[in-house]
Amino acid sequence: MLKEGQIRIPSGCAIAAIIDKKGNKINGSEIIKSISLMHDRSNGLGGGFAAYGIYPDHKDENAFHVFYDNVEARKTCEEFLFKHFNIDVAERIPTKPVPSIDLGPDIWRYFGKANRVRMKTSRLDEDEYVAQCVTKVNNSIEGAYIFSSGKNMGCFKAVGYPEDVGEFYMLDRYEAYLWTAHGRFPTNTPGWWGGAHPFNILDWSIVHNGEISSYDTNRRYIEQFGYICTMQTDTEVITYLFDHLLRHHNLPIEVAADVLTAPEWDEIDRMPEDKKEYFTTLRAIYSGALVNGPFSVILGSNKGLLAINDRLKLRSLTAAIKGDRAYFASEESAIRIICPDPDKVWSVSGAEPVFIPLEIEEEVDE
């Protein structure tokens, strides 16, 4: 059987997220409680979490989370990482055995800064350097897969139900100001750990529910710019679209969201002149980046949390606010179980992105 990346596997899902706007920490048990309520939306073939603010001691270093299929892969990958980064810490990610989760890959994490000499020689900025190194490992080292590479954040994922994955990684020992979670319902998969979500590149992580019908249009658009969609998943292509628009085209996050979920022409034609021009230009330039078909997407980043829903509202996504915290989930019940009395609850509408910015900038060492 072909694994993810060799074949395109559609899947349905459950998603959930929490953010504290002021940057106060939330324990991992909260998000596990939320996603586990939507147990029936997953089928045990993939679960995962992204957590922001969990590595304050290493906040200026990239945290690489890596799956290894064998020792050989680890040796080759470590050789590469040690050459391209000044690695401070190399350790196995602590896990505890959970009966429902089969023996998987060897899971390691590394903290390190980009090797400045190599970076300067390559004439790339730091983000591009890191992104290219990750792509290089994932495309060329058989049996090694970097599934998380951001700073002061990390993804944790496995083949299993999300609540079991949370227990496996002992996420109740992590404190984050932003959590996203994903439970997967692939229609056909051999179950590969790397295929679970969230999908991550640099500080961006994506959880996604749906099966986009514009997949190949989006893939062929983004591959023009050097991205290679090795996983053949919707989540991967959506992540790359965001990465490209935000990092290469310098678009504000709300504008990038407009690109993916642009309003319909009927609506645009009725808008006031400046808005009409904005959306017409946007749709003309980025027709290949419009995402079509049912989807709800939560994009986590160190700048905040973005939730978008498809233009026809074919997939469910509920949002709630309570004080400094915002909650998102595929089902309202998954919010209410951890926040029984929200100030405001609403259904995220198609083509109306919700962005919750992180209001405090993380401290930056000069």
Binding site: D216, T217, Y221, W265, T281, A284, S287, N292, G293, L312
Partner: protein, 500 residues
């Protein structure tokens, strides 16, 4: 006789039904039908019948029928009757063989070997009667990225763009090759449909000035009808380098078709042959093309997108990429099954490649070079129905040009004798008694009906795929599967085989 060529058809007249009204006599410009010496009985001579069905259609009693005339030759798979007849014809005249319409040869038609996808369970199909279904396309040069500091406002200066409400445009057919009534019908339909028609290299007749907002005006190698106002009164300027039906050669409108109206529109003397040279004599290289594009843009204050139309030839993808880099805003690729008013038979039937392969290769090449999103790609060269169009867009086209299909909607029966100028349906002729048979008021409505019907079908197919915007169909090759194609063909088309 040494030059015997069997006739092609026999006109069968049911004597019991024929009332000798003479309608067929008046209708047939090929003079098949005639009154007997008594002046009362209608007879026919089938030798000149081209099976255009005009007489059959108009016979008030339904007395007429056309039958294929069979005169058997010795069976020979190599020396078929057609080759023998063509040799006989050339032995008679010493001339190049001429043909009209697209090639009738049984080359592979890849559209018929591509199947479309639809949603089931994991992804809902969309009902186009209940949900918005967008077929609007925007053609023209696009900047690489949007300039926007905040949501809702952009500072991007867009080059001129063309908005079409359906991804179907009318391909180039000049006034001269077709009648003014035929061109007017297309222009009127284009206006109502929110799409474009194309003047070909025949200039723009003053009767169509009020429809120039829907006109693509061609600049071809003969430069017929090209002047400042012609270029300025247009939606788009198209430099015609080649035509799918006759790549590498020019055109020839015989002097007998150049009446006073045609001569005015083309700016040539009445009755003179209008000969378009094979190349543009100011374009001998890609850098020359760049200069022509640049001068046309200068002349029109950068207000008109400039398109370059090339025939689908072996190296089409590199040529398309060159055109994009030379400044073309829109690249039109015309496949070798495309139609023509007249082309040398040997060229039409042997030169060029199918649009499916050319389009797939060019789209991929532009993507490999990272410039596909900055230019528009239009496919031409025989689209017979809406699913052909859907497949072309999924292969990577922004829009498609159609010509034969709207002509059929106006009455054409594909008799393939446009070059004779005797079109009984008033389409490919300049004879006033024939052109007046085509009423633009009626014909343009039929064309609108056709394109509206196709657009409905495109929406239905898109809805089935779970797609509600043509933008998300464009280049979406996962929606396509090949059937009965070789590995190599699948590779070039960039699609998987059915079942994969």
């Amino acid at each position: 006789m040494i030059n015997y060529i069997p006739r092609r058809f026999t006109v069968i007249r049911d004597k019991d039904k024929c009332v000798n009204c003479g309608c067929c006599v008046r209708q047939c410009s090929n003079e098949c039908h005639y009154f007997d010496d008594d002046g009362k009985t209608v007879l026919c001579n089938s030798n000149t019948c081209v099976a255009c069905h005009r007489c059959v259609d108009l016979c008030p009693t339904g007395a007429l029928r056309i039958e294929k005339y069979v005169c058997d030759y010795n069976e020979n798979a190599n020396w078929t009757p057609q080759y023998q007849q063509e040799i006989c014809r050339q032995a008679n005249t010493g001339s190049t063989l001429l043909s009209a319409m697209g090639t009738p040869k049984p080359y592979p038609i890849y559209w018929d070997h591509i199947l479309l996808n639809a949603s089931q369970v994991t992804n809902p199909s969309i009902d186009p009667l209940r949900e918005p279904m967008e077929t609007r396309a925007i053609l023209g040069r696009k900047p690489e990225k949007l300039e926007a500091d905040k949501k809702g406002k952009t500072t991007t200066k867009m080059p001129p763009q063309i908005i079409i409400e359906t991804p179907i445009m009318f391909s180039a057919m000049s006034f001269g090759s077709i009648s003014l009534n035929a061109q007017k019908s297309l222009a009127m339909a284009a206006k109502e449909l929110g799409t474009l028609f194309n003047t070909g290299e025949g200039g723009l007749h003053p009767d169509l000035y009020n429809l120039s907002d829907y006109a693509v005006v061609q600049v071809a190698s003969g430069r017929f009808g090209v002047h400042k106002d012609y270029l300025k009164n247009s939606k788009c300027i198209e430099i015609k380098i080649g035509q799918g039906a006759k790549p590498g050669i020019g055109g020839h409108l015989p002097g007998e078709k150049v009446n006073v109206e045609v001569s005015n529109a083309r700016m040539i003397p009445e009755g003179s042959d209008a000969i378009s040279p094979a190349p543009h004599h100011d374009i001998y290289s890609i850098e020359d093309l760049r200069q022509l594009i640049w001068s046309l843009k200068q002349l029109t204050d950068n207000k008109k997108p400039v398109s370059v139309k090339i025939a689908a030839v072996h190296n089409v993808s590199a040529i398309a990429s060159g055109c994009a880099r030379a400044g073309a805003d829109i690249i039109v690729i015309d496949g070798f099954r495309g139609g023509t008013g007249a082309a040398p038979t040997r060229i039409r039937d042997n030169v060029g490649i199918p649009i499916e392969l050319a389009l797939a290769a060019a789209d991929q090449r532009l993507r490999d070079e990272g410039i596909r999103s900055t230019v528009s790609l239009v496919a031409a060269g025989s689209f017979r129905c809406s699913s052909d169009i859907v497949k072309a867009i999924a292969l990577g086209a922004d829009a498609c040009y159609v010509a034969s299909a709207p002509l059929i909607a106006m009455g054409c029966h594909m008799c393939g004798t446009c070059n004779t100028g005797k079109c009984n349906w008033g389409i490919a002729t300049q004879r006033p008694e024939l052109t007046k048979r085509l009423n633009p008021e009626i014909a343009h409505k039929r064309v609108i009906n056709l394109i509206t019907a196709w657009t409905h079908e495109i929406k239905e197919i898109m809805g089935g795929m779970g797609i509600n915007s043509i933008d998300s169909l464009r280049g979406n090759r996962l929606m396509l599967r090949g059937i009965g194609l070789s590995e190599k063909e699948l590779e070039i088309l960039g699609i998987k085989h059915a079942g994969e």
